[in-house]
Amino acid sequence: MSEVIDIFINTLKDLWFESGLYAMDWRSIVMILISFVFMYLAIVKGFEPLLLLPIAFGMFLTNLPHAGMYHPELFNAETFSVGAVLKEGGLLDMLYLGVKLQIYPPLIFLGIGCMTDFGPLISNPKSFLLGAAAQGGIFFTFAGAAVLGFNAAQSGAISIIGGADGPTAIYVASKLLTGGGSVTIGTIALAAYTYMALVPLIQPPIMKALTTKKERAVVMEQLRPVSKTEKIIFPIVVTLIIALLVPSATPLVGMLMFGNLLRESGVCERLVKTAQNELMNIITIFLGTSVGATTKAENVINPSFAKIMALGVLAFALGTACGVLFGKIMYKVTGGKVNPLIGSAGVSAVPMAARVSQKVGAQTDPTNFLLMHAMGPNVAGVIGSAVAAGVLLSII
């Protein structure tokens, strides 16, 4: 009888020492609380919930001690092996393979291409220039990150936050951040999606500061109708030109245009429905949760995370400013035909940034509908940010 009691007590002791409660430290508690904050932002405030909620829950799961769902040591650049992950990894390790092998972001771009109408861009190709100008935020932030002491790979991963494109940021970060370090894909994604949701707060003051009332009141000419032929040619030509110029941008731009061609061809409706819905939803769940799992306490609770968040808002602000300033140049060159406000939509948070242009324009003139004009630079910004990502990957 005493033996049974001894075994019982020893088992309880072992269970206690193996439990998460025993292993919990202050960092884990802080991270779990931070994950609750992001869950609140996603659910109650509606901050990009489709991705922020999986990221927040991934953060929650990975910071539960001894849960064993994610093992960062398996993804160390020197020792990484898919076989080892499959053999020794947990659920989130296996889902994370899609991030590590750069599979998820191009597939998300496939779905985005299926959902995007490039008509406003085709009817006014000059919008491409505004999309290009807004990517200035990425490169100037690269300089800012270098000043704060980050190395080239980390600076490249941080600066791509300015592209305001979650899949692009995750793609670039997964390619550049191969070793360990204080900057992780999770922190980059967290910053990117948080600021994408804050675009309506970040952009308007900058737009108003850089434009006059007369410029904001410009009513632009109606866009010409775009034929189906043009919409079918568009993805093919864009893929050809971008892939030949910047081959490293091909996975993102190619899949974006593939999705768009499926949509515009009109003969692949089933594929379009799947790409827009089931495929996007599955990838979003896997991507968000596994990326959130990389936000372990040691990566977030350090000064680098604060610097990343500061650089993130700088990237968005600079991108907005560059887009609006180029819009002002186009206003002057065209003799007042282009409203500079649409330049801010070059920051590729689709369609949020275009809505902000519409809203700020309507504050000056309620009858001024800028939304469809702003959609041109907005979708051009998606292409521009993918090209900028390709350039960063080529150089660094």
Binding site: I122, S123, P125, K126, F128, L129, G131, A132, Q135, G136, I138, F139, F140, F142, A143, A146, F150, N151, A152, S155, V219, Q222, R224, S227, T229, E230, I233, F234, V237, V238, I241, I242, L245, V246, P351, A354, R355, Q358, T367, F369, L371, M372, A380, I383, G384, V387, A388, V391, L392, I395, I396
Partner: protein, 124 residues
């Protein structure tokens, strides 16, 4: 990180992005001009325009006013189509005797344009 390298990255990045998108601007501007022109030339409605009034609704395109721009042609076509559908439901024949532009003092945009804009922007 070396300042020279940083400067090179910033300059190269901005220039390459602009070059890539300028090529796209040039291509799609030219394509737009070519394809828009070929669509206009093959538009049969334009060839059948005649100045007329008090015509029946059998030939909708003959009701279109002369020397109007394409927006007004489309508006007239839409109005005529609606009236033609009334004929089908009522069994009576309706005639469009004239369509005149009415000056709007409240807005710089015609009401149809405003309605279309609202409909297109509602999903956003």
């Amino acid at each position: 990180m070396d300042a020279t390298f940083v400067g090179a990255v910033v300059l190269t990045g901005i220039v390459v992005v602009f070059i890539a998108l300028i090529l796209l601007v040039l291509y799609f501007s030219i394509q737009g001009k070519i394809l828009s022109k070929s669509l206009y030339d093959s538009n049969d409605v334009k060839k059948n325009l005649k100045p007329t009034e008090n015509k029946t609704l059998d030939n909708i395109h003959q009701i279109v006013l002369p020397q109007t721009n394409s927006d007004e042609d489309e508006v007239v076509a839409v109005i005529s189509a609606v009236i033609a559908s009334l004929s089908v439901s009522d069994g009576k024949t309706y005639k469009v005797k004239s369509i005149k532009p009415v000056k709007s003092y409240s807005s710089s945009r015609p009401a149809w344009a405003m309605a279309g804009l609202r409909e297109n922007t509602t999903p956003f």
